[in-house]
Amino acid sequence: MYRSQHLALKYFTAAMVLFGIMVVAGLLGALYYVQDGLLLNKLDFSVVKTLHIDTMIIWLLMGFIGAVYWFMPVEFQRETEGIRLAEIVFWIFCAAVGVVAAVFIFVQYGPANEASLWLINQGRKYVEAPRWAAIGITAVVLVFIYNVVGTAAKARKITGTMGILMVDLIPLFGLYLIAFPAITNMSVDQYWWWWLVHLWVEATWEILIGCIMALALMQLLGTARRIVETWLYIEVALVLGTGILGLGHHYFWIGTPDYWLGIGGFFSALEPLPLLGMVVHAVYDAGAHRMQTTNKPALFWVMAEAFGNFIGGGVFGFMMTLPQINLFTHGTQWTASHGHFAFWGAYSCGIIAVIYLALQKVRAQERLEGRAWKWSFALLQIGMVGMVGALLVAGIAQAFTERAIGGSTLQAYIQGQSHPWFVQGIGMRVVFGVVFAVGYVALMVDLLTIGKRRGSVSRLSPRMAGDPA
């Protein structure tokens, strides 16, 4: 294996550890809703929520970076340029994440001054990391860009997929710079902050995972490069065409001009269209190969990615994206329901699929099979669908009682929080959260053991396993 692929495995390991911390923080966060005063003044809800959200961002980012380090040397037929630097940066990245997490848990907050921004928390949701760590993340991404572009330059070669990926790295890096300025006008701050959050998630990340899935499909199903890349170009055009101005659905109620109601609603309503095309493509590819592959776990996770993206992003998103509906639903558990499902479908499933592909090679298995992956797959999917269903019920109660009937007063908020549907929904969220956590444990057991168990002896020769010459 290339050193780049060894580095990818380290990134995957770190990503899975952070995935676990995210699950624990999520479960704890869910418990605050059913147990008043839980850990009050010791570990407040806001801290746990920050941990839950930030670990999600970081584990997905590490998963993306790991996937690129995995596929890149195969694409360019050479070792990644600057691999030594990349290896050093990985450890710095991990140490920084550990320090930031420790500060979040033990220091939590500080006075409203510059020192707190630099050392404790920048205070903006999703990008709370203190400024020193944010600069570190920027440096990590710069090194990553250097690795990708440098490798292509040294190889004097560029493939369609890697070309798109390289262009995508520019906004991936550039948009993150919006995390830095401290803007005091709330509307202006939110305006730019959504560029970072939305355009990362619904533009640059979508393209990144599209490239990664393209590379994965070539390895998983042996689909011809030209087919995969032609489809990738179309997908990129459609996702960007609908996703960029779909940004407007975050501008409905933050003090921006009302033309955003029309722009945001229109483009958001178009967003499910390319997702349906992706579902058709996934079914076509799987059907064309009669679901026959040497890596069933990866195939199932790829399928889950297509369907989860469509249902979580498309169906759950369309339910609440038109301004007349969104007036009541934004910022409720309904939004949390959509967010959980969309992130899970669009990104998490894809990264898990790539990890299974990598493991097949690492463990030199001609065929990756077993029973444990089916358990983890089922438990994680049931846990997620149960959680988002429960959050949806709670969110409906909130939107109906607190917003639409009560008019968002404090009294209406209390009524919404004590509505039986809300209480039951929040309770069921914990139950399915536990199911999800059990699924996570099963996934970890499977990832650690698949291909190592007795009977898994169909080893590939080093040449077949794709080792560098």
């Binding site: 030209r226 309503a269 579902v279 058709v280 059907g287 369309f318 339910m319 409906i396 109906f400 639409a404």
Partner: protein
Amino acid sequence: MTAAQSLVTSALLGGFVLFAGGYGLLYCLAKLRNSPGIARAAVLAYVCQGVVTVPLILGPLDLAWKILILGSLIVYFAIPQYTWLFLERLHASREPQP
């Protein structure tokens, strides 16, 4: 839009896309298995999407959104068919002949 109308409209919007997905999935399965039964189920899913559209058109949404939904209904009908056709042609032209 009243509180009750907002909930019903939201559910209908979710159903609208869900039936579109069901239609797309069943259309693909019918093609893969060459099954007239599944093809009929696909048509049924699309009809359900059309049925869901009626109360949305007659409901409290603004006219612009109603036009958008009606337009989407037509586009959703075409997506699986054209995507499938495109994929078939793409595979036929790119993959080496046996």
